[in-house]
Symmetry: C2
Amino acid sequence: MKQYKEFTVDEKAAFRAAALAAYNGYQAQGLKIDMSRGKPAPVQLDLSGDLFHAVDENNYRSADGTDCRNYGGLLGVEETRALFAEILGVEKKNVIACGNASLTLMFDYVAQCMFDGCGAEPWSRQKDVKFIAVVPGYDRHFTIAQYFGIKLINVPMTPTGPDMDKVEELVKDPTVKGMFCVPKYSNPDGYTYSPETIERLAAMTPAAKDFRVIYDNAYIVHDLYEESDYLPEIFSVAKKYGHEDHFVEFASTSKITLAGAGVACIAASDNNIEMIKKRLTVQVISYDKLNQLRHAKVFKSAADVHARMQQHAAILRPKFEAVLEIMEKELGGLGIAHWTKPRGGYFISLYVDGGSAKRVYELCAQAGLTLTNVGATYPYGVDPDDSNIRIAPSFPTVEELKTCAEILCAAVKVACSENA
Amino acid sequence: MKQYKEFTVDEKAAFRAAALAAYNGYQAQGLKIDMSRGKPAPVQLDLSGDLFHAVDENNYRSADGTDCRNYGGLLGVEETRALFAEILGVEKKNVIACGNASLTLMFDYVAQCMFDGCGAEPWSRQKDVKFIAVVPGYDRHFTIAQYFGIKLINVPMTPTGPDMDKVEELVKDPTVKGMFCVPKYSNPDGYTYSPETIERLAAMTPAAKDFRVIYDNAYIVHDLYEESDYLPEIFSVAKKYGHEDHFVEFASTSKITLAGAGVACIAASDNNIEMIKKRLTVQVISYDKLNQLRHAKVFKSAADVHARMQQHAAILRPKFEAVLEIMEKELGGLGIAHWTKPRGGYFISLYVDGGSAKRVYELCAQAGLTLTNVGATYPYGVDPDDSNIRIAPSFPTVEELKTCAEILCAAVKVACSENA
């Protein structure tokens, strides 16, 4: 196939006419579809009907006899901690089972580092606190950093993880205090860090003694295919270098069971767990143990979770594939855009050439398709190349998604044809 | 009855011998009872069996059609907000329905004032931040303040609320930034602020422009008798003086439904809600709306809550009365101790004379009865008079409580007899 840049003037005119015709056709339909956020579809939530019946007025005790209805148990229900420990590949003593949102836990951990410190002066009393932002990345990570006045430095994501040469260079600066990572099926690219990346992350000795990786393992079991991407367990690698304190890991069942009513957890080194407990003791009497118990009753082991995730995959895979297929058909070989082909997670990253992402967003919006805000995948909402578009295929139906993908591709072509 | 101080030497010796005999008798039984915390009894939790069946896989939408299983709805389920609004006597727009713990909300609000400020420089950048501690009070309030390095200044509680002369004097100091209040059935005295106290609290103009009352209405509907103590609604009083920003109110269903799995809320002025939302937006995607919906399904109105609280009262009232009756019988008229007679809440305050509270605690512990740590009801764990003992009658059975009260009274007498 001939690339767009090789097109003759006439070919470009014909391409533009066809793109506009297609685009105008969709616009005329007056559609209204939201593909902006990584929200599970109702049919995925339906998979967790069992959760509603896992505990009741005669069944509210954890295995050790704790009445989960009452106060107490700061670190969470034992079997829920054990379940997370098995999923993450760590020891139960290094896991705290918490409330429904890992975002809140990350916010709070950064707050603790800011105002109480983590092995040194509180970050707020040091000047010029910086974090590495792997880009494109998760907007809500960036927002947490920005909220606390932490300056973000972009490091590009690659198919094997963050550009580690750049990371290793940056951490020589003692004001670089940490980074956010989504190591598996990253948001929005869907890349998984390679074993080499994990080894280098674990091995590096930042100048800052109080360096922390906010290791958001949001998609650890969120495979689209039977075979999972391989991700080494971070603490066991870090331990080789005595660096297990550098990592604080977060996960949740939000996209395993119910997005709004799951259970989140923290996994951390003995030292960090002790530090976190000091704050928790003041902040919380106990998290919702009944909801933790619900999860432990439904999932006796990581294998049970894996089985549930395969049910999710059966719903999500056709959605991802529908989008990818249409993008391949409409944009493949034209050299005007490229995109990722994730094997898990919740997103596809589309990169459009020529700084036209905002224009594509606008065109889609005018045709009734809401995309994630362009720029949201970068700190301060600024994509320096105006290139990345995060596609969130989970919520719409396959039929809707096909329409979404067609509109999106038509918009990409229209935007492209406006440039040259 | 003759007071202890009027006893002859022989009478004192006989009194001591009898007290010791009683005490030793209990000690010999090798009991083990915990009366240390305000934890509902299992039979109280049993009242909320309906909560387990209020939502299920076919019943997960709020009245406006929101799928409560999914993400979204930062401020909470509309009908849950409305329920809290009715209970508190405020408008729904001024209520945010949150997670399971009001303690976490208070911690977080103080954190926000500390590091983001509330209408002025963040407290952390001002020096010498002080709070008024109404004493005796709730240990976890004090712990929050202490965690953030806020200096606590004791102001005595009276049967009509904090000593307002002292409060009004203290708030002339611009470094006094706030106070914790439990305005109804206070912890541990069980006193309710009088309308005059509320009026003075609302009317006062602290020197600090960023003064905040952490208004913990933990026991607003927690009556022991059909007739509730009267407490004016704070915001409507504050509004008269343009002071509604001074108050941020907290409440929860923890002691209405399930202590560990209830729903907490914040009520605040429009200004403060806006400020709190700025932080929430970064911190939370949404709270557990399913649990909020459970509560809204079970309680259609404040009247439903009142009916449930009367069921709690039927369980709690005999416990309070059993303790009070034994204290009256054993200690009444002796002039060695006095105590409160709450009409709601979770605690009775016992004040022993002669600085013997620690000794009483020790004697009780040696007889197998765990009381709330003496001093815990004061900042820094120091009761200057070593007098206050917080009695938490909710968790043990009536029979156990009778034993508790007997041991406690015997210990008070033994301690008294050691003094003079």
